[in-house]
Symmetry: C2
Subunit: 378 residues, 2 copies
């Protein structure tokens, strides 16, 4: 199907850009001498993940057990579930392990460690658990020097659970925007996670894997001594938030929302599109960054950004396209963006925008497209 | 299934609250002597819409043709598609009409009116079109005194299209928060839409329907002379944005997200939940209102709000539950919100939060629940 024939709104993946993003990250990981385990929460799409694995990825990271179940069913068996597990989800984890999935769980607290140990003992299953390390204070995890780290390690190790490694995610990297700051945080993430592994090993707990990553720190890292693998998700598509962080150009962004002009408010210089927040998502991640891109940056069908305009407002199924400089002499918006014209809108946050759609349309350089399904829910 | 057995995160509808919200709106419409056409974009769920129709609703409003197709297939045949139609969507509208759906289209510009007329002529179909009127300047529509109103009316009327009515949506009501301001906007919405109908009728165009509405103005209206029907969507579930607008109490909010405590940052007083923005949506609609509720208000399983706490932050699958008063003496959060504890989070925006889930769990007063499917995409 050609772009012009796709019903709008639709989520488009520019396949050439996606392949370039995959190749860039994998080459960087190869240079640093570490394995790469992509986070598939960004796309939840088998076609994308196959391309990541074909490029050299080893295993995947997931944010939900539904992702683990779907990708295991499709043949991916090395899976890190990177959210500290609720005890009530252990039966689903057990079912995956029993089917042969090399599922790794994550914990950051003694109660969850004890719950896994007790559940594994009850069901005769040796779970593999990685301990989450907090290297930047932004969310969850145990800081490298905390007593709790060894407490959790011992609860697992002494109760028949394999401590497979430590993992950390320096998510505060999304708040930075200079190469020096990103490189410094990448080193902080590396050093903290390696230190946590060392403390566990010093206590007699093997802890083979040392897993770090976020898209900005993965791309900024210059040496990863002691690290065995890196995780990143949004790099595969990129978005305006990552552009503001400074790790991609506008023309690296592989996700866009195809939209149609459905009306105008000529006096205001507005064109109204059929892509509102239901299509773009409510993510306004650029609102606190150096450039606020509203709900997105419009581009022509060939991908050329219309840098004088923004999707400045959104209702559920209406997007408002308006000039950035509202005082600029307004051309006739009904002529400039005529009814029925199609545009591609670059999104703030690829993970959030993708989730609004049941499928992507994967667009080749010749303009032909195929549907790539993604899944939804938990 | 009982609440405790539902996998988290999950979207819960409190059926008793929903029925109360439906009854309240329908009774108000009956008192005002107008028909009520609920906007089903909020829930996209047949079970909810059946309850609205059982209470007296006449026809439905939709925001996408997928909603129209799904509800028509389920037996609802009087459908207003309340977004100005892109010409490329006319074949889908035609298919619905040919199957017997009394589908009404909306336009607010001459080019779309001409496109419908030409397409109808080409296919021998008499489309019914309502003209969108702008009564508060917040988005799309033609203002009542504009010349374009009659221009669009004539293009339709003189080219074999039925002008079925006028419709307006005073969406700026979401920015208000006093009964007087809401009542004034309701009157502005009514008067503007009635005036537009009168101008069309004076020009010899019948225009039988006069359709107004948004949840706040529908509930605030005290007289609707000249109006034939009202539309509203979010009233059926309500949310924190509507609570800030002042049209519902916290205990009218019928949608909540069931979540589980998966960890803690004890020094910060945080509990970490398995409901992040993928579950709550990225909607931060209360951030510019009188009370900023973060990503939501936590409640006990029985619905009691924990008013000293907020879901203050969210990553994709992590929510941060923290005390509102960060300087307050912190009890031991690991005891207060122990691992595995389940909570219900009231959302900012029911339309956005519901869209994150493939199904609702409809919870009866006895705590039993059944699944109500909702649909996704366009």
């Amino acid at each position: 199907m050609k772009l012009e024939q796709i019903d709008t709104p639709a989520a488009l993946i520019d396949v050439a850009r996606m392949q370039r993003n995959i190749a860039r990250m994998q080459a960087h990981m190869n240079t640093l001498g570490v394995a790469f385990r992509p986070h598939v929460k960004t796309t939840k799409c088998l076609d994308v993940v196959r391309a990541q694995i074909a490029a050299g990825a080893r295993g995947i990271t997931v944010s939900t057990l539904k992702e683990a179940e779907a990708f295991f069913a499709a043949g991916v068996d090395d899976i890190l579930y990177a959210v500290s597990i609720a005890p009530s989800k252990l039966p689903r984890a057990l079912a995956l392990r029993r089917q042969g999935c090399k599922l790794k769980l994550v914990v950051d607290n003694p109660a969850a460690a004890a719950a896994i140990a007790a559940f594994g003992d009850q069901h005769g299953e040796t779970f593999e658990v990685w301990i989450e390390v907090d290297t930047d204070g932004h969310r969850s995890g145990i800081t490298p020097e905390q007593h709790t780290l060894l407490e959790v390690g011992r609860i697992l190790h002494e109760n028949g659970v394999t401590v497979g490694g430590v993992m950390t995610h320096a998510g505060s990297s999304y708040e930075l925007n200079t190469p020096d700051a990103l490189a410094a945080l990448a080193e902080q993430e590396r050093a903290g996670c390696v230190r946590a592994a060392q403390r566990l090993r010093d206590a007699g707990i093997a802890c083979p894997a040392v897993s770090v990553g976020s898209t900005p720190t993965a791309l900024a890292a210059t040496q990863l001594e002691g690290v065995t693998e890196v995780r990143a998700g949004v790099y595969v598509l990129f978005d305006l938030v990552m552009h503001n962080v400074g790790v991609c150009a506008l023309d690296d962004i592989a996700l866009s929302v195809l939209a149609t002009v459905i009306g105008h408010q000529p006096e205001k210089g507005w064109a109204i599109l059929d892509a509102g927040w239901m299509a773009m998502s409510r993510d306004r991640g650029t609102s606190k960054q150096s450039h606020d891109y509203g709900y997105g940056v419009p581009c022509l069908l060939n991908g050329t950004p219309l840098t004088g305009y923004l999707l400045s407002g959104a209702n559920q199924e209406h997007g408002i396209l308006s000039p950035i400089d509202e005082s600029a002499p307004t051309e006739d918006v009904t002529q400039h963006f005529p009814l029925g014209m199609k545009l591609r809108i670059l999104p703030n946050h690829a993970c959030a925008t993708g989730a609004q759609f049941p499928e992507y349309h994967a667009v080749s350089p010749d303009g032909a497209s195929v549907e790539w399904r993604r899944f939804h829910g938990w």
